[in-house]
Every structure is written in structure tokens, then in C-alpha cells.
Symmetry: C2
Subunit: 371 residues, 2 copies
């Protein structure tokens, strides 16, 4: 005897946490298109268009631009495992959970990791980075563009300018920013940029857009030993995603890629600038509403992300209870704080399809009721 | 100006290759249920049922039984990266592409790999394994249950009996077998078994069912260094998939997991034995039809897989052209050979939802027409 089908309990929820975000109906429909083979010519043609659309969204002409068959975290793993060998000096700029995670990922791979820490809720300071770069020659410098754990935007362009003359590879995590604000891999001089499908691209989680510069590909090709991760070896992936023969590597997540294809189309049809503006406007509206309620934002205006809004939990409020109430009674998900910010902030996402005035109005009304 | 939407070119195809297989309508519908958060209590409850259903299908009571956020190849990667440390002696039994791949995966991780090769199209011979096990003490012995590249079933139970007294860990790849024939992780003494969602489970590709014995978990916990793969570190994954707190690790592929949940339900509702019998019957019917056409199977009857049928390309037939004709004119996908069998065999899948008399009749008629 089977239990009742739990999928029947899954109803539309206004996703305003740190991701996943709301998925447009067109993307749901795409997910359930008929599965075809991963070497079917129709699928190969779809892959080619996905690569091209990703290049546009990621601001790059890199040949090696493709979605990895894993979540955004697989993107981080792939970036480090391909670019770093044991003993390589790596500098990680840390001002949140995802910078901290980079230190762990790189250390596990045997990199010689230096970390430069900044207070959570504040951005990386380029002057401090310059100082560190003057001290030591790094193989790779890594930073998170949009720190999902704090709502801070880091000055990736300015950091890129500092990294460039040192010859180090430059890694930028764009998991939360991609599709919601400008990501300009080439203009930043970034050698590897990765993201996730479930943030501002508004596709369900499961894919990691990923791009590598030709300079970094050369470094990968001249590694002294094979990439110690067969699944995420970029050299092998390129054999499937590019070139004439399309050699079988692993079976691509076909239906997820239908979803990503559709999600990218929707963004490009709307127009990148229009999409970014929609994020900024929803953000401004949200901040206005929160401040009118007497709530305070964690991050200084200049460094706030439009798609991830960290708001301080007011004295006397039961942080967890408010979130639970929102989810259970209003069908709205918002996020709590992580690490040193646990219990101290809520994280309100305005990502992709979620970034609309209707979402802001609903969450503002629900919060007002709960406080 | 956008290109026409390529998803409109994707129509129902009878998937009779080496996977993906046909997806039942209920699973497509599950895929497009509304996305919710990866820490939503409704999703946690769904995860718990997925784990329990996977235990039933995998023949195990292992606490650590969960779907990895990647394809079957990520399952292979995870198995080796968690269980093997640099310098560990590993024995891989090779009689096809996936055994060969295991050698590569383990070698990249620094294992000291011995391989024992058997002719492609024939099974692993336990006596030869016994000889090898007598020569050296291995940390881990690895074998593929159902070699997708050749259609051979390997005697995993007999091999398990040989491995057990040596104290080595025992790894079984069940990518193609799971859900189509008995997989009995506990009875085989297997310490790690992984699979993929897109074969006999008839869910689209993107998830890797994965189980680890308590004995292997102890070895993982006593590693001298951290698992050099943050994304696939089983210790971290368990923190999200089990226990009380459900610590955030990475964002699970929510909608794919809806699909897997529904696919597992369909299998258990039909009943495992009934499903296996359906596979055997479809296989018998296919072989009968092929032999009536004068075609010859690659593998001896005793070692044939029901779900993957390797048939020799007859003299004079244009292997690639036949496959292309089937796909373009009949909307049927079958597979070609790999490695030494390229150009010499077709691989006809009867996996999961595909394993029905109607599929057999369609592919038999189409082949007859093409030859």
C-alpha cells in the first residue's frame, strides 16, 4: 500500500528566499516536453543555442561556455578542480558563506589557500586586495559577485583590474547575479564564471552555467596531471558540447536543458536591460516598503544587491516564527540568515520571475501582518 | 530577433537506445509541479519518501541512500572520490566502456589501479577475479552490473562472495540495471551502489541514486584527508538528506526530484517483480523477432541483459544509416556500438517504460523495413 502522493501537497509558493525563484509557466511546460536522446541532432542544435544565449547573458565570447550537469555548487567545484593543482597559491576574498565555501573547495583540492576576510554585510575592499596581491604571486584569485548570504555586491570589475597585471587567473562566482544584473565576464577579465539555473534565470535548480576563457583553457591543457574529477573535467565536457563529433561523455540532463533553453529565451526576449531594470525597480519598491515599516537593511545602499535583500530582524521579533508563518499561512518563502547572521536577518529574494511589484506587495503586506 | 523556438521541434520519440528511456506521462507532469524551496517541510517529507523507495529498489537497508544531484556518471565519481584515497590499491573488472571509465576515474584520484580485462561482450569470470584477489590486498574492488556498452550482465553476486573474505570494499555500478532487474546491494555485500535516473527508472537524466553501507561510511569518516570533492562529499550530503537539522549543502534539483519520486512510485505500484518480468518478456520477444530476421545477438543467452540488447550488424548493412533512418523516418532511437564494437553492433534498449511489447513490435518492423 503506497502513501498518498506527496506531489499533491505541492502548491504554488511565492519564492522570495535566496533561491530557487519563481518559475514562469513557459519553463514548466518546457520541462515536460518529450525526452529525446542526448546525441539526437535536434538536441545538439538546442545545445548550440543554449551556449550562444549563455554567452550573451554572461557577457563573453568564450568558446567554452556551457551549462554543467549539476547545481551552482557544481560550478564552483568545476572552476577550482579544473584551474587549480595541488600546491597552487590561491587567494580567496571572503565576505560570506560562498567565499568561505570556496576556501573549503580549494583546500580540499590541495591548493595553498590564502583568505582575505571582510565583515559579512560589507563588500570586499579593493585596496586590501591590492595589498595582498603585492605580497605574493597567486595562481588564481576568487571572489563572489553577489554574496547570497549577505546581499552584498562585490566590486568585481575593480578587483579584476588589480588581478590582471599579476597574471593570476580570475574566478568570479555569479550564481546569484546572473540574469538579474550585468555579468560581464570578458569586460571584467574573468577567466572562469559560473552560475546556477535557479536564481535570476528562473529555471528550477540543477544546472550550472559555466564559462572559461581561452587563457584558462590553455592552463588547463598544460596541467601536469589530469583533472582529478572525471565528471567535471572541462576538457572532456568540451568534447560533448562543442566540436564536430560530439563524443558521448555523460548523459546530459535533457529536460532540465529544455527548461534552461526556455528560461534564457524569455530573458533575451524581454531584453537584458529591461530585466535588470525590473530587478532594480522591484528592489527599490521593497526597500521603500520595508523602511516604511521601520525595518532596517543590513547593507549600505551602494552595495546592495537588487535580487537579494538582507533586512535586519527587529528586536522582539521571532525570526523563525515569522518565516514559518509566511510559508504556512501566506504561501511565501523568505530566507533566514546564515553563519554569524543566523537569527539576525531575513533574506528576501527578488530573483528573475519573482522580481515584480506583485511579489513586493504580497511580501510587504505579509510581513506587516506578522510583525 | 529570436530564432524560432526549437522546443517546438521536439516530438515524442520511441527511445530504444542505451538511455534515456521513455518517460511516463505521470513523470512529465511531476516535473512541472510548482518549484518550492529545498528546505520547505513539504520537500523534506518528499526527500524522506524518495530515500525509502530507493532502499526498496536498491535492495538495501543502508541509512545513506539518496539521489545525487548529477547523472549516473556523478554516481561513479562520488563512489570513488569518497571511498578511495591516493595510493589505495583498487581492482577494476573491465569488460566494456563503463569498467574502462572506472579505471580513469580512480586513476585521476590517485588510486593505484589494477585492471582485469575480459573480452567485450563476455562476462567477468569469477575464477579470474579470485586469482587476482589472491595476489594482492585491495582497498576496493569495482565492477559494473549491467555493461551498457555490450549488453552483458556481470555475476556481481559471485564476485561479491569472493571479495567479502578479503575485507575490500565492494563497488557495483547499477546504472543500467536498477529498476529493470533485481539489484540487491545488501545481499551482494556491496558497499556502494549507484545508478542513473534515465535508464530503467524512466525519469529524465539528471539524478544518481546512490547507497553506501555503514562499513563504508566508517571508512569515509576515518579518511586521513577530506574528500577532495566538496559537491559530492557524502558526509556533507548526509547533513542535508538525513538527520534532524537538514543543513543546507547545495540546492537540490527540486523538479527533477519530483520526477524521480513519481517514477519510483510507478515502479513500486506496479511491483518490482512485475516490472522485472515485463523487462524479461519484452527482451524475449525482441530476441525472437531479431533472430527470425536472421540477426544475431552479441552476448550468450545466459549473460544477456533484458534491458540492453546488443545485436550484430549484418554484413552489408550501413550501421549509421539504419540508425539515422529509424530516427528520422520512424521516430525510433536505437544506439550504436562503442570502442571496439563501434560499427559492429546496434544497442536496443528495453528500459523501464520502454520495455513493452508495443516498443518491440515497432522497432522490429522498422528494422525489417531498413535491412
Amino acid at each position: 500500500m503506497m502513501h498518498p502522493n506527496r506531489l499533491d501537497t505541492i502548491s504554488e509558493t511565492l519564492l522570495m528566499g535566496p533561491g530557487p525563484s519563481l518559475v514562469p509557466p513557459e519553463v514548466y511546460r518546457a520541462l515536460s516536453r518529450p525526452t529525446i536522446g542526448h546525441l539526437d541532432p535536434r538536441f545538439i542544435a538546442l545545445m548550440d543555442e543554449i551556449k550562444e544565449m549563455l554567452r550573451t547573458v554572461m557577457g563573453t565570447r568564450n568558446e567554452v561556455t556551457l551549462p554543467l550537469s549539476g547545481t551552482g555548487s557544481a560550478g564552483m567545484e568545476a572552476a577550482f578542480v579544473n584551474l587549480v593543482e595541488p600546491g597552487d597559491p590561491v587567494l580567496v576574498l571572503v565576505n560570506g558563506v560562498f567565499g568561505t565555501r570556496m576556501v573549503d573547495v580549494a583546500s580540499r583540492l590541495g591548493a595553498d589557500v590564502d583568505r582575505l576576510d571582510f565583515e559579512w554585510g560589507t563588500p570586499v575592499v579593493p585596496e586590501a586586495v591590492a595589498g595582498k596581491l603585492a605580497e605574493r604571486s597567486y595562481r588564481l584569485v576568487a571572489v563572489v559577485h553577489a554574496e547570497t548570504s549577505t546581499g552584498v555586491r562585490n566590486p568585481v570589475e575593480a578587483i579584476g583590474e588589480l588581478v590582471k597585471p599579476t597574471g593570476a587567473l580570475y574566478l568570479v562566482d555569479a550564481v546569484t547575479s546572473l540574469g538579474g544584473m550585468a555579468v560581464e565576464a570578458d569586460a571584467w577579465g574573468a577567466d572562469v564564471v559560473y552560475s546556477g539555473s535557479q536564481k535570476c534565470l528562473s529555471c528550477p535548480p540543477g544546472l550550472a552555467p559555466f564559462t572559461v576563457s581561452e587563457r584558462a583553457m590553455e592552463r588547463i591543457r598544460s596541467r601536469t596531471r589530469k583533472v582529478p574529477n572525471w565528471y567535471l573535467d572541462v576538457g572532456l565536457l568540451v568534447g560533448y558540447w562543442a566540436g564536430g563529433t560530439r563524443a558521448y561523455h555523460h548523459t546530459a540532463p535533457i529536460n532540465m536543458l529544455y527548461g534552461l533553453y526556455q528560461a534564457l529565451r524569455l530573458i533575451l526576449e524581454e531584453g537584458l536591460e529591461t530585466v535588470f531594470q525590473r530587478h532594480r525597480q522591484a528592489h527599490a519598491l521593497l526597500v521603500e516598503g520595508l523602511e516604511a515599516m521601520g525595518l532596517e537593511m543590513l547593507v549600505e545602499p551602494a552595495w546592495r544587491l537588487p535580487m537579494l535583500n538582507a533586512v535586519k530582524v527587529p528586536a522582539g521579533a521571532d525570526e523563525v516564527r515569522v518565516r514559518r508563518r509566511l510559508l504556512e499561512e501566506e504561501a511565501i518563502e523568505i530566507g533566514g540568515g546564515l553563519g554569524p547572521l543566523a537569527g539576525k536577518i531575513w533574506r528576501i529574494g527578488l530573483m528573475g520571475h519573482t522580481a515584480r511589484p506583485e511579489s513586493v506587495e504580497r511580501v510587504s503586506a505579509a510581513l506587516k501582518k506578522s510583525l
